[in-house]
Symmetry: C2
Subunit: 644 residues, 2 copies
């Protein structure tokens, strides 16, 4: 698949954008007119720079408001087009995007439109330019891609074809199957964008909220499947208008964008395999089929779709790692929760603490120290998470192909080598070899010897909650989706005294891994890395009341829950008075839904980390969301008292 | 008018919110349940604190999903209500908001709903509680305020009334006139919120984008006029769910909120005067009219509406002031533009520079120095703007009543005393006495003597462009609307290499004052005050080409416009080649619309300030918006080259 991206997706100058696209590995780019107009680079400079960077210049865009106009406006539009065609020849570009008219069209007549588009195609032909005509979702008369394509067929000119943009098609819920019957020679260009399903006017939705494939809710694999089956072999190019991407670091965003196309390519191949063509041979099979006979169980299409190493979703958490400059407070809290100290690593400054199959590594290097990452000014923070996978080598190969940045992990001889990657928020993600009895072989590298298989799995890591910087939230969703096969759930918003917190759960189908990405309010962020926002690790136990009592006996500093909460709980659930008293006595929180019950408590915060203990009763599948505002308010109050 | 505000409008803890409301001068508050549930304060604590702060506790809210349910759910709901009524008696509160059912209603039957609401009212009566029933805009069966009120009338119980919320009414475009015929004794509560007109689902709109009156586009004065005419005399209380306000400083937001009610009160009185009641006497006139006989030309209503000192819109800019630690670069640029040095102030470290009637004060104290405001790390910045008003004393009294923070301005004897206020972005706003010949008396305080009336008004200050921190953008719109009588225009969004810039024009009807508020991308902000984002002052002249030539001869460092821009200009407008060459030669930008033409150029930036010279031909009323991305891109490029 030839990959492309429109320069409008990225922040910075045209030069910075082109460099970032080349580094991220794109084959080509679309030049968004404004990026050229505002650039000090001449068209010849841009052409040379693209060649030097190994980028093809695939599409000049957009040319607006051409068709369906009065005669004198047509003349002005053709003058405008002529100037752009001459410019394109200086750029060495041969395809221009022409959008259906939004502003100046006054005549709704397909015959007239075809006549005017024919005049444009004729002029384009004189300059060796191909016109890709696209129906905008809010086009005045033409807003349906099939309509645009009918016009192309009416004109039947070699220099006029269609451009398919997934946003304009899927935002309107148009059926995508008819694409398969398009003449592939008439599909001049394909643009892809994903988007969250929002109910708002489609223009605002399009201009501000598009995201890269895999970061939204559009059925893009299906869309692409139809495009591939039509026989299209040209570039698949991202056109994403997004307020956040426009502000984010250009090189990071370009890599995020590239990852989305690699992922989309895989998903498209899977969709094609799962949805065999109804009518037998694909369109493109009559002439341009690439390669030999189709492999068993897999059709061959003119567009080659590369595949990635396949991985199953992770089987569980292997460990969580917390870094702290001064580890005493962390050790105290873990001990009070019932964790046991399992020794220090034989060569590294890390400690292992375990409770059942829950393993916590305390890294004594302090946050950010030792591996070149910037050191945030916090006393303790979640630094790494280990996941159990079938094959760390295969999972690592997949992550690398998805452009996950490798984390160097020093190892001595005879020590297990972890395959590690940096997540978008710079948390380190390690891929570990799971074992059937739930133990981890690497624990033998710690002083007190190999971990003993425990009869009970209690406790296990139930979920990890990570704060995300606002610039990288969508990127994080795609990262965990594509590299770790976690499934994003619908997000929730939780009130806190310093603003709404957006909470995005990513989980495996069996819930062995639950990761919660929290987008903290802006004032709690310091640009690149959350600062005052708190993260946590939650452990599931079989008997929360007993765990809480034992922890209290050991002197644990519980997060103090206000009395008002228990009154409200009673009003909502009508709880047994003894049970309610027990909850209040132990600072336990409670939730109930049709699936079951949820009991949990929180520790006080150490640095920017705290811990949660949970008990899931029945099939309760949530996180006690109604209780989250209480937790936020108490933590806020505590923090403000500390800083006053 | 009794003023109120829901605690959900503000950030912080319940305690912080209550304190901020008291400081801002609210009469009472609504307690949003979650704020109480998450608070360590007992209900008795809250009651005492409110009394100590002089705040009444006007409304407990919300109670959700009560009506139209099955029999067993009704029992659970009454249990829930009973608990809340008991809680309210501990708080000393007597009114609760009950919203129409969104989630659990299964029976669409007004008879059943009335029966269930009657049961609730009866229970409420036992506790001395009044139930204010409100139709949510997205209520499952009840989403229209008239429907809610019909149910109240059907039940006809002394403890059941209606709550009118402007958002739920105006977001659905319901006619507000029928309010006038409501029995005022049945209107238990009135909530007001404004909102921008957005086309999105009404729930998301309501939960995230409400703003305070005067910051949106709802016809709130009309809504309030009908409410007043109905005879309602209770609190008018703000209920505004806004993502930004939830994150902003609680005391500032409370003042912003209070200002919006003071402004709304005035606007409501004006609306009542301009729209006499059709049917003669108002509802409330039959019984509870307060005060004596109506003043001539003004009806008296049961609710007293306080008025503010009245001011006309400002007649023009009096001056703009730029602060700089090192003023040499500023002096150079102004001199090159054609400004003349008019001397130093006799007692202060400021210089006066003039060109025609455009006056620029260079303050040598450096940004932020000298008056206790924090000093941003920039070399030069716009510090103050003076406006010509009819009566500085009256305008100042109005601004003070609108809670504009007074800026202390030291003055010697015999010097003109400026009335000054701090705008939300901390720019100082001074109210000056205009003069018919366009001169300013204060200029005699400068060394070279009194300003000489100029035959030509060229140049004048055309507009001032100020960067706004994201937390205070809506506040700024209301500030300039209410205190200075500027009119907000529909906003535009402009692409820049570091993100979209939201640009909000505030102007007078004769365009003598044009103020542009720019909301810079987040990464260009540093929390409370714009840092790298650039602001500017624009001057209008009669002959821009001559001005540019003279400036070039004096060695001005123009903002360099890329050649690609002129090619695009030609493609768009088909300009005369000589004219186009002249534009390009002088780095002039150009725009044209149906009203006229616009020529302009920019200087290089000094600190965070640059200057623009403009020529308006015909009735051109804009700011060259199509050229703004070019300006942003060149400035970005320049800044990045400097910092590399």
């Amino acid at each position: 698949m030839r990959t492309g991206i429109a320069t409008v997706c990225l922040s910075g100058t045209l030069k910075e954008k082109m460099q970032a696209c080349a580094i991220a590995g794109f084959d080509g780019i679309e030049i968004f007119e404004q990026d050229l107009v505002t650039s000090p680079l001449s068209p010849e400079d841009v052409r040379k720079m693209a060649a030097d960077l190994g980028l093809t210049l695939d599409l000049y865009q957009p040319f607006r408001d051409f068709d369906g106009v009065s005669e004198d406006l047509l003349a002005a539009n053709l003058h405008r087009a002529d100037a752009k065609f001459r410019l394109m020849s200086r750029l060495g570009m041969d395809t221009i995007l022409v959008c259906s008219n939004v502003a100046t069209a006054t005549i709704d007549d397909d015959g007239l439109r075809a006549k005017q588009l024919a005049a444009l195609a004729e002029l384009a032909g004189d300059h060796g330019v191909k016109v890709a005509y696209e129906a905008l979702a809010w086009g005045k008369y033409v807003n349906d891609y099939e309509h645009a394509h009918r016009l192309v067929e009416m004109v039947d000119h070699p220099n006029l074809g269609t451009c398919l943009d997934s946003f304009h098609i899927l935002s309107r819920d148009w059926d995508t199957a008819p694409i398969e019957d398009f003449n592939p020679g008439k599909i001049f260009f394909v643009q892809v964008a994903d988007a969250p399903k929002l109910s708002m006017d489609v223009l605002s939705w399009s201009r501000h909220y598009r995201v890269f494939p895999g970061e939204g809710q559009f059925e893009l694999a299906k869309f692409m499947g139809h495009v591939v089956r039509a026989g299209y072999t040209g570039p698949v190019s991202l056109e994403v208008f997004n307020d956040v991407f426009r502000q984010s670091d250009v090189e990071r965003t370009a890599v995020d964008a590239m990852r989305s196309l690699i992922w989309l390519e895989e998903q498209s191949a899977k969709w094609l395999e799962a949805n065999p063509a109804a009518g037998g041979a694909a369109n493109g099979a009559t002439g341009t089929v690439a390669g030999g006979p189709p492999a068993p169980g897999r059709r061959r299409y003119p567009m080659e779709l590369a595949t990635l190493p396949q991985v199953a979703e992770p089987a569980g958490f292997n460990f969580a790692e917390v870094k702290a400059a001064d580890t005493a407070a962390l050790e105290t809290v873990l001990g009070q929760l019932g964790f046991e100290f399992n020794g220090r690593h034989r060569t590294k400054d890390v400690q292992l603490w375990t409770m059942g199959h829950a393993r916590v590594i305390i890294n004594e290097q302090g946050p950010g120290a030792g591996d070149g990452t910037p050191a945030p000014a916090i006393a303790a923070g979640i630094a790494a998470i280990g996941f159990d996978v079938d094959s760390p080598v295969i999972a690592s190969a997949r992550a690398q192909q998805l452009k996950a940045p490798v984390v160097p992990r020093k190892s001595q001889a005879n020590e297990e080598v972890f395959q590690g990657f940096a997540a978008p928020d710079s948390t380190e993600i390690f891929l570990c070899q799971g074992s059937p009895d739930g133990t981890a072989a690497w624990t033998r590298e710690f002083g007190e010897g190999l971990e003993v298989p425990s009869g009970s799995r209690s406790a296990v890591i139930d979920h990890v909650n990570l704060a995300q910087p606002w610039q990288h939230f969508d990127e994080a969703v795609l990262f965990y989706t594509s590299a770790l096969a976690l499934e994003p759930q619908p997000y929730a918003e939780v009130a806190s005294p310093s603003g709404l917190v957006r909470s995005q759960v990513m989980q495996t189908s069996d819930r062995a891994v639950r990761l919660v990405l929290n987008l903290a309010p802006l004032l709690q962020q310091d640009g690149t890395r959350h600062k005052t926002y708190q993260e946590h690790i939650a452990f599931a136990v079989d008997d929360l009341v007993a765990t809480a009592r034992a922890a209290r006996d050991r002197g644990l500093d519980f997060l103090q829950i206000p009395a008002n909460y228990y009154e409200d709980l009673d009003a909502r659930f009508g709880l047994d008075p003894d049970f309610l008293a027990k909850l209040q006595d132990l600072n336990l929180l409670y939730d109930r839904d049709a699936d079951g019950e949820f009991l949990h408590f929180y520790t006080a915060t150490v640095g920017s980390v705290f811990f949660e203990m949970v008990e899931r009763r029945g099939s309760y599948d949530g996180y006690g969301a109604p209780n989250a505002p209480v937790r936020h308010a108490v933590q806020y109050d505590h923090l403000h008292q500390l800083t006053k």
